[in-house]
Symmetry: C2
Subunit: 243 residues, 2 copies
DNA sequence: AGGTCTAATTTGTTATAACTAATGTGTCAG
DNA sequence: CTGACACATTAGTTATAACAAATTAGACCT
Protein backbone atom coordinates (compact mmCIF):
# COMPACT_ATOMS: atom_id res chain seq x y z
CA UNK A 1 0.00 0.00 0.00
CA UNK A 2 3.06 2.18 -0.38
CA UNK A 3 1.41 4.17 -3.13
CA UNK A 4 4.07 3.14 -5.61
CA UNK A 5 2.48 1.07 -8.34
CA UNK A 6 3.79 -2.43 -8.82
CA UNK A 7 4.70 -1.83 -12.44
CA UNK A 8 6.95 0.98 -11.29
CA UNK A 9 8.68 -1.28 -8.81
CA UNK A 10 9.19 -3.91 -11.49
CA UNK A 11 10.40 -1.25 -13.92
CA UNK A 12 12.95 0.04 -11.46
CA UNK A 13 14.15 -3.43 -10.58
CA UNK A 14 14.67 -4.40 -14.21
CA UNK A 15 16.36 -1.07 -14.91
CA UNK A 16 18.65 -1.78 -12.01
CA UNK A 17 19.54 -5.15 -13.45
CA UNK A 18 20.23 -3.51 -16.77
CA UNK A 19 22.54 -0.95 -15.29
CA UNK A 20 24.28 -3.42 -13.04
CA UNK A 21 25.08 -5.55 -16.03
CA UNK A 22 22.99 -8.49 -14.86
CA UNK A 23 21.10 -8.04 -18.10
CA UNK A 24 23.87 -7.08 -20.53
CA UNK A 25 23.49 -5.42 -23.91
CA UNK A 26 22.46 -7.93 -26.53
CA UNK A 27 21.12 -10.39 -23.98
CA UNK A 28 17.67 -11.83 -24.11
CA UNK A 29 15.51 -11.06 -21.11
CA UNK A 30 13.46 -13.66 -19.28
CA UNK A 31 10.00 -14.07 -20.76
CA UNK A 32 7.03 -12.12 -19.54
CA UNK A 33 5.76 -15.28 -17.87
CA UNK A 34 9.05 -15.82 -16.07
CA UNK A 35 9.21 -12.24 -14.92
CA UNK A 36 5.63 -12.28 -13.70
CA UNK A 37 6.44 -15.38 -11.67
CA UNK A 38 9.66 -13.88 -10.35
CA UNK A 39 8.02 -10.67 -9.23
CA UNK A 40 4.74 -12.34 -8.35
CA UNK A 41 2.64 -9.97 -10.39
CA UNK A 42 0.36 -10.46 -13.34
CA UNK A 43 1.48 -10.38 -16.93
CA UNK A 44 -0.31 -7.06 -17.36
CA UNK A 45 1.92 -5.49 -14.77
CA UNK A 46 5.12 -6.94 -16.19
CA UNK A 47 4.11 -5.81 -19.66
CA UNK A 48 3.52 -2.28 -18.46
CA UNK A 49 6.97 -2.16 -16.88
CA UNK A 50 8.60 -3.61 -19.99
CA UNK A 51 6.71 -1.25 -22.24
CA UNK A 52 8.17 1.70 -20.38
CA UNK A 53 11.65 0.34 -20.93
CA UNK A 54 10.99 -0.35 -24.59
CA UNK A 55 9.57 3.11 -25.05
CA UNK A 56 12.59 4.61 -23.32
CA UNK A 57 14.84 2.71 -25.69
CA UNK A 58 16.53 0.29 -23.30
CA UNK A 59 14.81 -2.76 -24.71
CA UNK A 60 13.41 -3.99 -27.97
CA UNK A 61 10.70 -6.58 -28.28
CA UNK A 62 9.73 -8.95 -31.03
CA UNK A 63 6.55 -10.91 -31.10
CA UNK A 64 7.25 -14.58 -30.82
CA UNK A 65 10.83 -13.97 -29.81
CA UNK A 66 11.20 -11.92 -26.69
CA UNK A 67 12.84 -8.86 -25.23
CA UNK A 68 16.43 -7.90 -25.93
CA UNK A 69 18.67 -5.39 -24.24
CA UNK A 70 19.30 -2.67 -26.82
CA UNK A 71 21.44 -0.13 -25.02
CA UNK A 72 22.17 1.29 -21.61
CA UNK A 73 22.19 4.83 -22.96
CA UNK A 74 19.04 5.17 -25.01
CA UNK A 75 18.78 8.17 -27.23
CA UNK A 76 16.27 10.04 -25.15
CA UNK A 77 17.19 13.36 -26.60
CA UNK A 78 19.17 15.14 -29.19
CA UNK A 79 22.09 16.47 -27.34
CA UNK A 80 22.43 14.43 -24.29
CA UNK A 81 22.76 11.39 -26.44
CA UNK A 82 25.81 9.40 -25.58
CA UNK A 83 28.76 10.39 -27.71
CA UNK A 84 30.26 6.99 -27.01
CA UNK A 85 27.23 5.16 -28.36
CA UNK A 86 27.05 7.13 -31.55
CA UNK A 87 30.70 6.60 -32.33
CA UNK A 88 30.54 2.90 -31.51
CA UNK A 89 27.51 2.50 -33.77
CA UNK A 90 29.58 3.87 -36.62
CA UNK A 91 32.22 1.28 -35.89
CA UNK A 92 34.86 3.68 -34.72
CA UNK A 93 36.74 4.08 -31.49
CA UNK A 94 35.65 6.74 -29.01
CA UNK A 95 38.05 8.26 -26.55
CA UNK A 96 37.88 10.79 -23.77
CA UNK A 97 40.89 12.73 -22.61
CA UNK A 98 40.47 14.46 -19.29
CA UNK A 99 41.98 17.91 -19.61
CA UNK A 100 41.21 19.29 -16.20
CA UNK A 101 39.08 18.74 -13.16
CA UNK A 102 39.23 21.60 -10.72
CA UNK A 103 37.31 23.16 -7.94
CA UNK A 104 36.65 26.71 -8.91
CA UNK A 105 34.83 29.68 -7.53
CA UNK A 106 34.25 33.15 -8.82
CA UNK A 107 35.34 33.92 -12.39
CA UNK A 108 32.55 31.88 -13.96
CA UNK A 109 31.24 32.34 -17.47
CA UNK A 110 28.05 34.36 -17.30
CA UNK A 111 25.92 31.44 -18.51
CA UNK A 112 27.13 29.40 -15.57
CA UNK A 113 26.99 32.14 -12.98
CA UNK A 114 23.38 32.68 -13.92
CA UNK A 115 22.44 29.37 -12.40
CA UNK A 116 24.95 28.64 -9.68
CA UNK A 117 26.22 30.53 -6.67
CA UNK A 118 28.37 28.05 -4.83
CA UNK A 119 31.63 26.18 -5.20
CA UNK A 120 31.67 24.30 -8.46
CA UNK A 121 33.80 21.65 -10.06
CA UNK A 122 34.80 22.14 -13.68
CA UNK A 123 35.43 19.02 -15.68
CA UNK A 124 36.95 19.59 -19.08
CA UNK A 125 37.28 16.71 -21.47
CA UNK A 126 38.27 16.23 -25.07
CA UNK A 127 36.26 13.58 -26.86
CA UNK A 128 38.03 11.85 -29.71
CA UNK A 129 37.12 9.57 -32.58
CA UNK A 130 39.84 7.18 -33.65
CA UNK A 131 42.24 9.38 -31.75
CA UNK A 132 41.47 12.68 -33.44
CA UNK A 133 39.76 15.41 -31.45
CA UNK A 134 36.11 15.91 -32.14
CA UNK A 135 34.44 17.62 -29.25
CA UNK A 136 35.39 19.70 -26.25
CA UNK A 137 33.13 19.43 -23.23
CA UNK A 138 33.05 21.53 -20.13
CA UNK A 139 30.84 20.45 -17.28
CA UNK A 140 30.19 22.57 -14.22
CA UNK A 141 28.63 20.87 -11.25
CA UNK A 142 28.29 21.87 -7.58
CA UNK A 143 31.06 20.33 -5.54
CA UNK A 144 28.64 19.13 -2.87
CA UNK A 145 27.01 16.83 -5.43
CA UNK A 146 30.25 15.12 -6.36
CA UNK A 147 32.36 14.89 -3.20
CA UNK A 148 35.69 13.22 -3.77
CA UNK A 149 35.44 13.36 -7.54
CA UNK A 150 38.79 12.75 -9.17
CA UNK A 151 40.43 11.84 -12.44
CA UNK A 152 40.08 8.11 -11.79
CA UNK A 153 36.35 8.42 -12.23
CA UNK A 154 36.83 9.21 -15.90
CA UNK A 155 38.04 6.34 -18.05
CA UNK A 156 39.93 7.45 -21.15
CA UNK A 157 38.56 4.61 -23.20
CA UNK A 158 36.00 1.86 -23.06
CA UNK A 159 32.24 1.75 -23.10
CA UNK A 160 31.52 3.85 -20.09
CA UNK A 161 32.77 7.33 -20.82
CA UNK A 162 29.46 9.13 -20.66
CA UNK A 163 29.73 11.79 -18.01
CA UNK A 164 26.02 11.57 -17.42
CA UNK A 165 26.25 7.90 -16.58
CA UNK A 166 29.27 8.52 -14.39
CA UNK A 167 27.51 11.28 -12.51
CA UNK A 168 24.46 9.14 -12.12
CA UNK A 169 26.02 5.87 -11.06
CA UNK A 170 28.93 7.05 -9.00
CA UNK A 171 27.34 10.08 -7.38
CA UNK A 172 23.63 9.43 -7.83
CA UNK A 173 23.28 12.73 -9.60
CA UNK A 174 19.95 12.63 -11.38
CA UNK A 175 18.06 15.22 -13.34
CA UNK A 176 14.50 15.37 -14.51
CA UNK A 177 14.45 18.19 -17.03
CA UNK A 178 16.90 20.23 -19.00
CA UNK A 179 17.11 23.23 -21.26
CA UNK A 180 19.42 23.14 -24.21
CA UNK A 181 20.65 25.77 -26.62
CA UNK A 182 22.48 25.07 -29.83
CA UNK A 183 24.39 27.95 -31.30
CA UNK A 184 27.00 28.74 -33.83
CA UNK A 185 30.13 30.71 -33.06
CA UNK A 186 33.67 31.19 -34.18
CA UNK A 187 36.24 29.20 -32.30
CA UNK A 188 38.11 31.09 -29.59
CA UNK A 189 41.90 30.54 -29.57
CA UNK A 190 41.93 28.04 -26.70
CA UNK A 191 39.04 26.03 -28.10
CA UNK A 192 40.49 26.06 -31.60
CA UNK A 193 43.79 24.88 -30.21
CA UNK A 194 42.30 21.90 -28.46
CA UNK A 195 40.11 20.89 -31.37
CA UNK A 196 43.06 21.39 -33.69
CA UNK A 197 41.27 23.73 -36.04
CA UNK A 198 42.12 27.24 -37.27
CA UNK A 199 41.08 30.13 -35.07
CA UNK A 200 37.79 31.74 -36.05
CA UNK A 201 36.45 28.64 -37.73
CA UNK A 202 32.69 28.51 -37.21
CA UNK A 203 31.77 25.67 -34.87
CA UNK A 204 28.67 24.42 -33.13
CA UNK A 205 28.21 24.91 -29.44
CA UNK A 206 25.68 23.28 -27.21
CA UNK A 207 24.82 24.63 -23.79
CA UNK A 208 22.73 22.44 -21.57
CA UNK A 209 21.41 23.14 -18.10
CA UNK A 210 19.87 20.25 -16.22
CA UNK A 211 17.48 20.54 -13.29
CA UNK A 212 16.24 18.13 -10.67
CA UNK A 213 12.60 17.49 -9.90
CA UNK A 214 12.44 20.48 -7.55
CA UNK A 215 13.68 22.82 -10.27
CA UNK A 216 17.13 23.27 -8.75
CA UNK A 217 19.94 23.36 -11.32
CA UNK A 218 22.07 20.24 -11.18
CA UNK A 219 24.77 20.82 -13.71
CA UNK A 220 25.74 22.94 -16.68
CA UNK A 221 27.28 21.42 -19.73
CA UNK A 222 29.03 23.32 -22.47
CA UNK A 223 30.12 21.63 -25.61
CA UNK A 224 32.10 22.68 -28.66
CA UNK A 225 32.10 20.35 -31.58
CA UNK A 226 33.88 20.04 -34.84
CA UNK A 227 31.50 19.01 -37.58
CA UNK A 228 27.74 18.69 -37.67
CA UNK A 229 25.26 17.04 -35.34
CA UNK A 230 23.24 14.28 -36.94
CA UNK A 231 20.42 12.29 -35.51
CA UNK A 232 17.38 10.30 -36.44
CA UNK A 233 13.83 11.18 -35.58
CA UNK A 234 10.78 9.10 -35.02
CA UNK A 235 7.82 10.18 -37.06
CA UNK A 236 4.75 12.05 -35.89
CA UNK A 237 1.68 10.39 -34.47
CA UNK A 238 1.52 7.10 -36.31
CA UNK A 239 -1.53 6.78 -38.45
CA UNK A 240 -2.13 3.43 -40.02
CA UNK A 241 -4.05 3.77 -43.22
CA UNK A 242 -5.42 0.33 -43.79
CA UNK A 243 -3.30 -1.58 -46.27
CA UNK B 1 -9.84 -9.38 -39.16
CA UNK B 2 -8.21 -6.63 -41.18
CA UNK B 3 -4.98 -6.94 -39.27
CA UNK B 4 -5.27 -3.43 -37.93
CA UNK B 5 -5.67 -3.51 -34.17
CA UNK B 6 -8.82 -1.98 -32.77
CA UNK B 7 -6.91 0.44 -30.56
CA UNK B 8 -5.27 1.80 -33.70
CA UNK B 9 -8.63 2.33 -35.33
CA UNK B 10 -9.92 4.11 -32.25
CA UNK B 11 -6.73 6.16 -32.05
CA UNK B 12 -7.04 7.26 -35.67
CA UNK B 13 -10.71 8.10 -35.29
CA UNK B 14 -10.12 10.24 -32.22
CA UNK B 15 -7.15 11.91 -33.88
CA UNK B 16 -9.38 12.66 -36.82
CA UNK B 17 -11.93 14.26 -34.53
CA UNK B 18 -9.18 16.30 -32.95
CA UNK B 19 -7.91 17.57 -36.25
CA UNK B 20 -11.37 18.22 -37.62
CA UNK B 21 -12.14 20.36 -34.62
CA UNK B 22 -14.90 18.12 -33.35
CA UNK B 23 -12.80 17.87 -30.22
CA UNK B 24 -11.39 21.38 -29.92
CA UNK B 25 -8.42 22.51 -27.87
CA UNK B 26 -9.38 22.88 -24.22
CA UNK B 27 -12.41 20.66 -24.56
CA UNK B 28 -13.07 17.70 -22.35
CA UNK B 29 -13.29 14.39 -24.14
CA UNK B 30 -16.02 11.85 -23.52
CA UNK B 31 -15.18 9.46 -20.70
CA UNK B 32 -13.45 6.16 -21.29
CA UNK B 33 -16.74 4.42 -20.66
CA UNK B 34 -18.55 6.56 -23.20
CA UNK B 35 -15.88 6.02 -25.79
CA UNK B 36 -15.82 2.28 -25.23
CA UNK B 37 -19.57 2.23 -25.75
CA UNK B 38 -19.35 4.43 -28.81
CA UNK B 39 -16.69 2.33 -30.47
CA UNK B 40 -17.99 -0.92 -29.03
CA UNK B 41 -14.67 -1.97 -27.61
CA UNK B 42 -13.46 -2.66 -24.11
CA UNK B 43 -12.07 -0.05 -21.80
CA UNK B 44 -8.61 -1.59 -22.21
CA UNK B 45 -8.70 -0.81 -25.91
CA UNK B 46 -9.92 2.73 -25.47
CA UNK B 47 -7.28 3.34 -22.84
CA UNK B 48 -4.54 2.13 -25.14
CA UNK B 49 -5.71 4.48 -27.88
CA UNK B 50 -5.94 7.40 -25.47
CA UNK B 51 -2.57 6.62 -23.98
CA UNK B 52 -0.98 6.96 -27.40
CA UNK B 53 -2.56 10.37 -27.81
CA UNK B 54 -1.50 11.46 -24.35
CA UNK B 55 2.01 10.27 -24.97
CA UNK B 56 2.11 12.08 -28.29
CA UNK B 57 1.03 15.26 -26.52
CA UNK B 58 -2.41 15.77 -28.00
CA UNK B 59 -4.24 15.04 -24.78
CA UNK B 60 -3.75 15.33 -21.06
CA UNK B 61 -5.48 13.18 -18.51
CA UNK B 62 -6.30 13.65 -14.87
CA UNK B 63 -7.48 10.93 -12.59
CA UNK B 64 -11.00 11.57 -11.44
CA UNK B 65 -11.49 14.29 -13.99
CA UNK B 66 -11.02 13.13 -17.56
CA UNK B 67 -9.15 13.79 -20.76
CA UNK B 68 -8.59 17.25 -22.18
CA UNK B 69 -7.43 18.36 -25.58
CA UNK B 70 -4.02 19.97 -25.08
CA UNK B 71 -2.84 20.94 -28.55
CA UNK B 72 -3.12 19.97 -32.18
CA UNK B 73 0.59 20.41 -32.77
CA UNK B 74 2.38 18.51 -30.05
CA UNK B 75 6.11 18.96 -29.83
CA UNK B 76 7.07 15.55 -31.10
CA UNK B 77 10.66 16.31 -31.82
CA UNK B 78 13.43 18.78 -31.51
CA UNK B 79 13.74 20.29 -34.89
CA UNK B 80 10.57 19.56 -36.66
CA UNK B 81 8.80 21.29 -33.85
CA UNK B 82 6.45 23.89 -35.15
CA UNK B 83 8.10 27.26 -35.46
CA UNK B 84 4.68 28.82 -35.13
CA UNK B 85 4.04 27.11 -31.81
CA UNK B 86 7.35 28.12 -30.31
CA UNK B 87 6.89 31.73 -31.24
CA UNK B 88 3.32 31.84 -30.04
CA UNK B 89 4.35 30.33 -26.71
CA UNK B 90 6.74 33.22 -26.25
CA UNK B 91 3.90 35.61 -26.86
CA UNK B 92 5.15 36.97 -30.15
CA UNK B 93 3.74 37.03 -33.62
CA UNK B 94 4.92 34.48 -36.17
CA UNK B 95 4.79 35.14 -39.86
CA UNK B 96 5.66 33.26 -43.02
CA UNK B 97 6.47 35.00 -46.26
CA UNK B 98 6.39 32.79 -49.30
CA UNK B 99 9.39 33.67 -51.44
CA UNK B 100 8.99 31.17 -54.23
CA UNK B 101 7.25 27.98 -55.14
CA UNK B 102 8.54 26.48 -58.35
CA UNK B 103 8.74 23.25 -60.20
CA UNK B 104 12.39 22.56 -60.79
CA UNK B 105 14.50 19.85 -62.30
CA UNK B 106 18.20 19.40 -62.72
CA UNK B 107 20.48 21.88 -60.93
CA UNK B 108 19.73 20.52 -57.48
CA UNK B 109 21.98 20.99 -54.49
CA UNK B 110 23.96 17.80 -53.96
CA UNK B 111 22.23 17.01 -50.66
CA UNK B 112 18.90 17.01 -52.46
CA UNK B 113 20.06 15.21 -55.59
CA UNK B 114 21.35 12.45 -53.38
CA UNK B 115 17.82 11.45 -52.46
CA UNK B 116 15.62 12.46 -55.36
CA UNK B 117 15.70 11.85 -59.08
CA UNK B 118 12.41 13.22 -60.32
CA UNK B 119 10.63 16.50 -60.78
CA UNK B 120 10.56 18.41 -57.54
CA UNK B 121 8.84 21.45 -56.17
CA UNK B 122 10.90 23.94 -54.24
CA UNK B 123 9.10 25.96 -51.63
CA UNK B 124 11.09 28.78 -50.14
CA UNK B 125 9.72 30.67 -47.19
CA UNK B 126 10.96 33.31 -44.83
CA UNK B 127 9.74 32.86 -41.28
CA UNK B 128 9.47 36.01 -39.23
CA UNK B 129 8.99 36.95 -35.60
CA UNK B 130 7.18 40.20 -35.00
CA UNK B 131 7.90 41.03 -38.62
CA UNK B 132 11.65 40.63 -38.56
CA UNK B 133 13.21 37.74 -40.49
CA UNK B 134 14.36 34.84 -38.41
CA UNK B 135 14.60 31.75 -40.52
CA UNK B 136 14.85 30.83 -44.18
CA UNK B 137 13.37 27.50 -45.15
CA UNK B 138 13.69 25.59 -48.39
CA UNK B 139 11.57 22.52 -48.87
CA UNK B 140 12.01 20.15 -51.78
CA UNK B 141 9.23 17.67 -52.40
CA UNK B 142 8.37 15.47 -55.39
CA UNK B 143 5.77 17.14 -57.53
CA UNK B 144 3.67 14.00 -57.74
CA UNK B 145 3.08 14.17 -53.97
CA UNK B 146 1.72 17.72 -54.08
CA UNK B 147 -0.22 18.06 -57.33
CA UNK B 148 -1.71 21.48 -57.78
CA UNK B 149 0.23 23.03 -54.93
CA UNK B 150 0.15 26.80 -55.09
CA UNK B 151 0.80 29.92 -53.10
CA UNK B 152 -2.71 29.93 -51.67
CA UNK B 153 -1.87 26.86 -49.63
CA UNK B 154 0.56 28.88 -47.55
CA UNK B 155 -1.00 31.42 -45.22
CA UNK B 156 1.28 34.33 -44.38
CA UNK B 157 -0.04 34.59 -40.88
CA UNK B 158 -2.25 32.77 -38.46
CA UNK B 159 -1.99 29.56 -36.51
CA UNK B 160 -1.56 27.16 -39.35
CA UNK B 161 1.71 28.01 -41.04
CA UNK B 162 3.51 24.77 -40.37
CA UNK B 163 4.52 23.32 -43.70
CA UNK B 164 4.40 19.88 -42.20
CA UNK B 165 0.77 20.28 -41.23
CA UNK B 166 -0.05 21.76 -44.62
CA UNK B 167 1.61 18.88 -46.41
CA UNK B 168 -0.13 16.43 -44.19
CA UNK B 169 -3.63 17.82 -44.21
CA UNK B 170 -3.88 19.15 -47.71
CA UNK B 171 -1.88 16.51 -49.52
CA UNK B 172 -1.86 13.62 -47.07
CA UNK B 173 1.91 13.63 -47.15
CA UNK B 174 3.03 11.61 -44.15
CA UNK B 175 6.43 10.50 -43.01
CA UNK B 176 7.47 7.95 -40.45
CA UNK B 177 11.13 8.66 -39.89
CA UNK B 178 13.60 11.37 -40.60
CA UNK B 179 17.28 12.12 -40.45
CA UNK B 180 18.42 15.53 -39.40
CA UNK B 181 21.75 17.27 -39.48
CA UNK B 182 22.53 20.49 -37.74
CA UNK B 183 25.56 22.34 -38.97
CA UNK B 184 27.23 25.65 -38.78
CA UNK B 185 28.25 27.67 -41.81
CA UNK B 186 28.85 31.21 -42.95
CA UNK B 187 25.95 32.87 -44.66
CA UNK B 188 26.06 32.89 -48.45
CA UNK B 189 25.19 36.26 -50.04
CA UNK B 190 21.63 35.33 -51.00
CA UNK B 191 20.87 33.83 -47.61
CA UNK B 192 22.46 36.73 -45.77
CA UNK B 193 20.41 39.12 -47.83
CA UNK B 194 17.13 37.49 -46.99
CA UNK B 195 17.89 37.13 -43.31
CA UNK B 196 19.15 40.71 -43.27
CA UNK B 197 22.52 39.88 -41.78
CA UNK B 198 26.07 40.62 -42.97
CA UNK B 199 27.60 38.19 -45.43
CA UNK B 200 29.82 35.54 -43.85
CA UNK B 201 28.09 35.70 -40.50
CA UNK B 202 28.12 32.22 -38.96
CA UNK B 203 24.61 30.79 -38.89
CA UNK B 204 22.97 27.51 -38.07
CA UNK B 205 21.63 25.27 -40.77
CA UNK B 206 19.37 22.31 -40.38
CA UNK B 207 18.97 19.71 -43.09
CA UNK B 208 16.20 17.22 -42.67
CA UNK B 209 15.26 14.32 -44.88
CA UNK B 210 11.99 12.57 -44.14
CA UNK B 211 11.07 9.06 -45.23
CA UNK B 212 7.84 7.15 -45.44
CA UNK B 213 7.30 3.75 -43.90
CA UNK B 214 8.79 1.99 -46.93
CA UNK B 215 12.00 3.97 -46.66
CA UNK B 216 11.31 6.16 -49.67
CA UNK B 217 12.33 9.79 -49.23
CA UNK B 218 9.32 12.08 -48.92
CA UNK B 219 10.79 15.52 -48.66
CA UNK B 220 13.96 17.41 -47.94
CA UNK B 221 13.97 20.45 -45.77
CA UNK B 222 16.78 22.95 -45.51
CA UNK B 223 16.72 25.65 -42.97
CA UNK B 224 18.93 28.63 -42.20
CA UNK B 225 18.33 30.41 -38.97
CA UNK B 226 19.48 33.53 -37.31
CA UNK B 227 20.20 32.95 -33.65
CA UNK B 228 20.35 29.82 -31.58
CA UNK B 229 18.03 26.85 -31.28
CA UNK B 230 16.63 26.35 -27.80
CA UNK B 231 14.48 23.60 -26.50
CA UNK B 232 13.52 21.75 -23.38
CA UNK B 233 14.20 18.15 -22.68
CA UNK B 234 12.43 15.57 -20.62
CA UNK B 235 14.65 13.77 -18.18
CA UNK B 236 16.06 10.28 -18.48
CA UNK B 237 14.20 7.16 -17.50
CA UNK B 238 12.00 8.15 -14.61
CA UNK B 239 12.93 6.40 -11.43
CA UNK B 240 10.60 6.80 -8.53
CA UNK B 241 12.44 6.62 -5.28
CA UNK B 242 9.71 5.91 -2.78
CA UNK B 243 8.70 9.02 -0.96
C1' DA C 1 23.45 -33.25 -43.42
C1' DG C 2 19.95 -30.50 -45.00
C1' DG C 3 15.43 -29.02 -45.70
C1' DT C 4 10.41 -29.14 -44.37
C1' DC C 5 6.67 -29.38 -41.67
C1' DT C 6 4.63 -29.31 -37.01
C1' DA C 7 4.26 -28.07 -32.42
C1' DA C 8 5.65 -25.27 -28.63
C1' DT C 9 6.97 -20.82 -27.15
C1' DT C 10 6.40 -15.97 -26.77
C1' DT C 11 4.74 -11.41 -27.47
C1' DG C 12 0.49 -8.72 -29.08
C1' DT C 13 -4.45 -7.80 -28.69
C1' DT C 14 -8.75 -7.75 -26.39
C1' DA C 15 -12.45 -8.53 -22.92
C1' DT C 16 -14.10 -8.76 -18.19
C1' DA C 17 -13.82 -7.55 -13.58
C1' DA C 18 -12.64 -5.56 -9.30
C1' DC C 19 -10.61 -2.28 -6.70
C1' DT C 20 -8.05 2.47 -5.68
C1' DA C 21 -7.60 7.26 -5.65
C1' DA C 22 -8.50 11.70 -7.33
C1' DT C 23 -12.04 14.71 -8.71
C1' DG C 24 -16.52 16.74 -9.12
C1' DT C 25 -21.31 17.32 -7.32
C1' DG C 26 -24.98 17.82 -4.61
C1' DT C 27 -27.03 17.86 -0.03
C1' DC C 28 -27.55 19.56 4.36
C1' DA C 29 -26.52 22.17 8.48
C1' DG C 30 -25.19 26.50 10.18
C1' DC D 1 -25.10 31.97 1.33
C1' DT D 2 -21.25 29.19 2.82
C1' DG D 3 -18.78 25.38 4.32
C1' DA D 4 -18.50 20.52 5.39
C1' DC D 5 -19.56 16.10 4.31
C1' DA D 6 -21.23 12.09 1.71
C1' DC D 7 -21.85 10.25 -2.74
C1' DA D 8 -21.25 9.64 -7.64
C1' DT D 9 -18.03 9.95 -11.39
C1' DT D 10 -13.74 9.02 -13.57
C1' DA D 11 -9.07 7.69 -14.54
C1' DG D 12 -5.33 4.48 -12.65
C1' DT D 13 -3.83 -0.17 -11.23
C1' DT D 14 -4.04 -5.05 -11.28
C1' DA D 15 -5.58 -9.89 -12.11
C1' DT D 16 -7.45 -13.46 -15.06
C1' DA D 17 -8.48 -15.30 -19.34
C1' DA D 18 -8.56 -16.32 -24.12
C1' DC D 19 -7.02 -15.97 -28.60
C1' DA D 20 -3.90 -14.16 -32.57
C1' DA D 21 0.42 -13.86 -34.81
C1' DA D 22 5.27 -14.24 -35.11
C1' DT D 23 9.16 -16.79 -33.93
C1' DT D 24 11.72 -20.68 -32.36
C1' DA D 25 12.72 -25.41 -31.64
C1' DG D 26 12.24 -30.02 -32.59
C1' DA D 27 10.79 -34.01 -35.13
C1' DC D 28 10.80 -36.04 -39.31
C1' DC D 29 11.87 -37.15 -43.94
C1' DT D 30 14.89 -37.29 -47.85
Amino acid sequence: MSGIPKYQVVHDEILGRLESGQYAVGMRLPTEKDLSNTFDVSRVTVRKALELLVRAGFLTSRRGSGYNVATLSPLFSTCLVSFTDKVLIEGRVPGAKLLRIDKIAGKLPPEVAEFFDEQLVLIERLRTVDGSPRMLTQTWIPHRLVPGIKAEHFPQSGQNQSILRILRHVFQVDWSSACETIDCLVAAPDVADRLEIPVNTPILSQACTAFDSTGEPVFFDMLFRKGPISFDLAGPAPRQTGT
